[in-house]
């Protein structure tokens, strides 16, 4: 029964990596800046999910902290980019 779970974990990791590649494609294709920011957000999220899958497959808790940090950095960077698109500067005087 463990082999089925291993296959499912492999499948999920493969799907997340493919989703990262598609987000990268949209980041290069994206006609406007907000498309690229949205693709970067998706890229961050799928990277976090890939790290969680590594944590599940190797059953260690190190990857959990890395996933939390990546979620935090992805949120901060997306907020900064959106603020820049909205206002023209990130930190207003």
């Amino acid at each position: 029964m463990n082999t089925v779970f291993d296959y499912a974990a492999w499948f999920a990791s493969l799907c997340f990596v493919l989703a990262m590649l598609l987000a990268l494609l949209r980041m290069f294709l994206g006609p406007a800046a907000q498309d690229r920011v949205l693709a970067l957000d998706t890229f961050y999220l799928n990277g976090m999910l890939t790290l969680l899958m590594l944590g599940i497959r190797s059953s260690s808790t190190v990857y959990f902290d890395m996933a939390l940090l990546i979620a935090l950095f992805g949120f901060a960077s997306t907020i900064a980019f959106a603020k820049f698109l909205l206002r023209g500067e990130v930190i207003e005087p």
């Binding site: 291993d6 989703a19 406007a32 907000q34 957000d41 059953s59 997306t78 907020i79 603020k83 698109l85």
Partner: protein
């Protein structure tokens, strides 16, 4: 899995959750690539953000609880963080996109207002006068050819 056998109550829901999360996230990313408009492209990645992350985190909780023989719930931190931050991110990006679309449309279309309307009417009358003058001047020269 380091040789340790997972119990059946972890394996079956964990497998289903992982497969569902992978499919949902992949479909969301394909929608991000394939949809035609930014305002349509806003929607598909949220499927991976909410359902995909939720499924993976529940599966991770199940597996680590079964491996450590005690309930492990520290994945709820990521769930809480994602649930709090995803709407903020989506709303700010949406506002930025709407703002940029409005600015582009204002720059594209000609200015409206009383002064500009009067100026445009003046321009049209001037061009009309010039056309008539040009027609009168060129009328005799058209005949011989």
């Amino acid at each position: 899995m380091n040789g340790t056998e997972l119990p059946l109550w972890v394996t079956i829901p964990g497998t289903l959750l992982l497969v569902a999360a992978g499919l949902l996230t992949l479909i969301g990313a394909m929608g991000l690539v394939r949809l035609p408009d930014f305002f349509a492209r806003m929607h598909p990645p949220t499927m991976g953000t909410t359902l995909g992350t939720g499924c993976v985190l529940i599966a991770s909780m199940l597996v680590s609880s079964a491996l450590e023989q005690r309930p492990v719930v520290h994945e709820l931190l990521i769930t809480l963080f994602i649930v709090m931050t995803a709407p903020v991110t989506a709303m700010l990006l949406m506002r930025a996109a709407v703002f940029r679309a409005q600015r582009k449309s204002v720059e594209a279309e000609p200015p409206t207002g009383a002064a500009s309307v009067a100026r445009r009417a003046q321009d049209e009358s001037r061009t009309h006068d010039e056309n008539r003058r040009l027609a009168e001047r060129s009328a005799p020269t058209d005949e011989p050819s």
